[in-house]
């Protein structure tokens, strides 16, 4: 056994080499087959799979998947949705790594510009549906160099204040009609030994964003939509006196003795998801947070006028005339593949059918102006829809429109620095200005 005959050795050698050659050829086939396979496979009874990746998880993700059921049935397409709270950190990796999802849901349209080079410019079939159903302004955020890259699929209403109707009734407080009334009400609450606001800006990697929402709401109310747009588009520097004034206004408001539960210097340590809950235990009277906070109340909390918590529109100053300025946010769907089933899925997303199918599952507010508002399952969601419909003008969340480095980076850092008292407003905003990427 020890010495193999030369012929056998050569035979073995030949077998090994043959095997390797087969393997190499097999590999080559694999590479070629990858592209044609997915296209060719589409001819059968199954027209393929559309992969989706987004920040929504759990109930919201399920609602999204469920809303696609009629589409899957009609087109024979399978939808595979993957949700991850760390979406913002992962999507760049997946796209740069050559493994993009077919459709990604961006909560920050400002990032669409970053990804335009990799994304698919949407064809006219999607564009025409979208133009029918969405405000021009909403599509503009997703338009890069005249091409549409994103379809709005979900709206957030941010100019809201949550409160407890029974607490308000017991104390004899009225829903404020103007910002002056709201501030006077807050002073009354402090005088009554109650804490007006619960605030929490903690959100793991995104800590700071609720502060930016406050700043944006007050930017709209103090300086108006025009200055707001200049600020978003960097036509005025980030440390412009107007911006400094507004940020300082919010910080001063929070720093007012007794205004914020726990004091402003600790808000970064309170996760935003838990921040409003003490309202139910009468530890504070109001919580300014978007409609999506509805999902964060503990199980069994009744929402609505007769319930445990309700929400009212964050009012405007009576001495300003910018209209019913309303801060909104939202999620945009962006395609990274132009396969026909992906484009069809986007057409469906842009259409009214999707919104009408998504609304009944709850936890959803449609950016689609043709949505049937009666489809919303609860009274409070219809209230949200009304407020959103009455918005005049609406403005999209500024930090979500700014370049990622600022809107999802240094602006949040500044929020932490300012609230914790580590830096003055001027210093912190100068840092943000310095971080604005040059084109």
């Amino acid at each position: 056994m020890k010495t193999t005959s030369p012929t056998r050795r050569i035979g073995l050698l030949a077998v090994v080499l043959l095997f390797m050659a087969t393997f190499a050829v097999g590999c080559a086939d694999d590479d070629d087959g990858g592209d044609s396979g997915s296209g060719g496979g589409g001819g059968g009874e199954d027209s393929g799979t559309v992969t989706m990746f987004g920040p929504e998880v759990e109930g919201e993700a399920q609602g999204l998947v469920d809303a696609f059921a009629p589409f899957e049935e009609a087109e024979g397409v399978t939808i595979e949705y993957q949700g991850d709270r760390g979406f913002e950190e992962l999507i760049g990796n997946r796209v740069d790594g050559g493994d993009p999802p077919d459709i990604a849901f961006f909560p920050q349209p400002g990032k669409i510009r970053d990804f335009a080079a990799d994304a698919v410019a949407l064809p006219d079939s999607v564009r025409s549906v979208a133009e029918e159903n969405f405000d021009e302004g909403m599509l503009e955020f997703a338009t890069v160099d005249g091409e549409l890259y994103g379809v709005p699929v979900k709206a957030d209403l941010k100019s809201l204040v949550w409160y407890s109707p029974s607490d308000f009734a017991d104390a004899g407080y009225e829903i404020p009609e103007t910002m002056e009334d709201l501030l006077a009400l807050a002073d009354t609450m402090i005088a009554d030994d109650k804490t007006p606001f619960c605030v929490g800006i903690g959100s793991d990697a995104a800590t700071g964003w609720p502060f930016t929402d406050w700043v944006e709401d007050f930017m709209l109310r103090l300086k108006g939509p025009e200055v707001y747009d200049q600020w978003v588009n960097h036509e005025i520097p980030f440390d412009d006196p107007d911006v400094v004034e507004v940020v300082q206004y919010v910080q001063d408001l929070w720093a007012t003795e007794g205004m914020v539960r726990g004091g402003p210097e600790n808000v970064a340590d309170i996760p935003f998801a838990e921040a409003g809950v003490p309202l139910l235990e009468d530890q504070c009277m109001m919580h300014r947070q978007g409609n999506f906070y509805a999902a964060n109340w503990p199980d069994g909390t009744e929402l609505g006028e007769e319930g445990d918590v309700n929400a009212f529109y964050l009012p405007t100053f009576a001495d300003q005339s910018f209209g019913q300025v309303t801060l909104t946010g939202g999620i945009y769907a962006v395609a990274f593949s132009d396969r026909p089933e992906v484009i069809k899925a986007l057409e469906y997303l842009a259409g009214t059918e999707f919104a009408d199918n998504r609304a009944p599952t709850g936890g959803f507010l449609s950016p689609n102006k043709n949505t049937d508002t009666t489809k919303y399952p609860t009274e409070i969601e219809q209230t949200f829809a009304e407020i959103l419909g009455a918005a005049d003008p609406a403005r999209f969340d500024a930090s979500d429109l700014m370049p990622g480095a600022v809107g999802a980076g240094t602006f949040w850092d500044a929020a932490i620095d300012i609230t914790s008292g580590n830096r003055s407003v001027e210093e912190a905003l100068a840092d943000v200005e310095a971080s604005w990427p040059e084109d």
Binding site: R9, V16, D96, D204, E265, A268, D269, G409, N422, D431
Partner: protein
Amino acid sequence: MEQLLVTLSGVVVAVVASIALFVAANLVLDQAVRRFRLFAALVGALAGAVVGALANSGGWFKGGSAWPVGGAVVGALVGALVVARRHRSPEEGRRTANRWRPAVFLFPAIAFLTIGLVIPTIRTIFLSFHDRRTENFVGFDNYRDIYGNRTIFSWNGFGDILGSRLFLAGLAIAVVALLVTVLRGRASRRGVDLWAPLPVLSLSVTVSLVVLAAVGSLRGVIWNNVFWVLIVTSVSTVLGLAIAVLADRSRGESVAKSLIFLPMAISFVGASVIWRFVYAWEPEGETQIGLLNAVWVFVGGEPQAWTSQQPWNTLFLIAIMIWVQTGFAMVVLSAAVKGVPDELLEAARVDGASEGQTFWRVTLPHIRTTVAVVVTTLVILVLKVYDIVKVMTNGGNGTDVIANRLFQEAFVARDLGLGSALAVLLFVAIVPLMYVNARRASEGEGT
């Protein structure tokens, strides 16, 4: 599921193919002894196939598999007809085979290292000289950005160190200690001895105070990394050594050491989650669910948001790493302490040395190399700190470190240029230490 099976079978095929390639290479070499012509043809075919595949790798020539196959045929012909024309004796063939055998054995390791380590390193260095989308060459701009970015690195506050009370106290201690040492040295006949407990300890205190003064004054990602390295390395080593020596041969040694070593079994992320609860903060008047605040409030303090308050919050994060790593230092140093020959210790005691002197003059010099190993290992580990900062603050409140910042820059802000430059910075900081460690390892081999 189907996808998983495809992936798994792909891995299996790749492994089998690698083994087959390896066996084949050895068999080819065996041919050099008797059938040199066959050997030359096979080597030629292999080289030709590789060259052909490379030439076609970008799909430049649209030849598909024709290129590697053609290359193999041409290579085989060249090998068989040209190279093998000179007839070789079996002895010569054997020498050729022996010369190439090490290369065959080293090839798999080198190939994996090249693909997984060398190429990415070179690519990262290459990217660090490019703009955010890696399209244009920008020279040293990214490095200049690092230097110019106040949140990454600046000399601001450097002057504050000199004026801070911590620094002045440290300076005073050092001056007094040196004076005492010099005067004592003069008085006794042995001369000035700087390697005595008093000067060493007081100088250590001085250095600690100066580092604390720096923590209080300097801001920026790179400084934070420096603080992490200095504090974790020194505290873990000293604590580990102290525990190793004090627990040595005492009752309950194994229990004590097991307890200290236990945190090593927890991942950094797990440890961070635990410590988040320790540092948890609730508004004043509420039940404090955080251990530290519960104790703090019990003794009469106001609840503190430990991880939010600059500049000392970095120290609270550093404490986590010390908690995890002290066990490592202790175990390694304990083994070294136990390796000090009993005869030496006994001889010292017979000569009238106190326990302190025995440790200082006999044990410590004897375990010097082990201490050095512990220190370099810890420095390398701590330079790369990422998980703890990521979980605790994600770099907020001025606690950011290089590794977390480079992730943020490269993958969240999508500035690959700046991210790569930070990675290169970290790499450059680690390389000398790796070199020292590798040198020591190869020296150890000799003895």
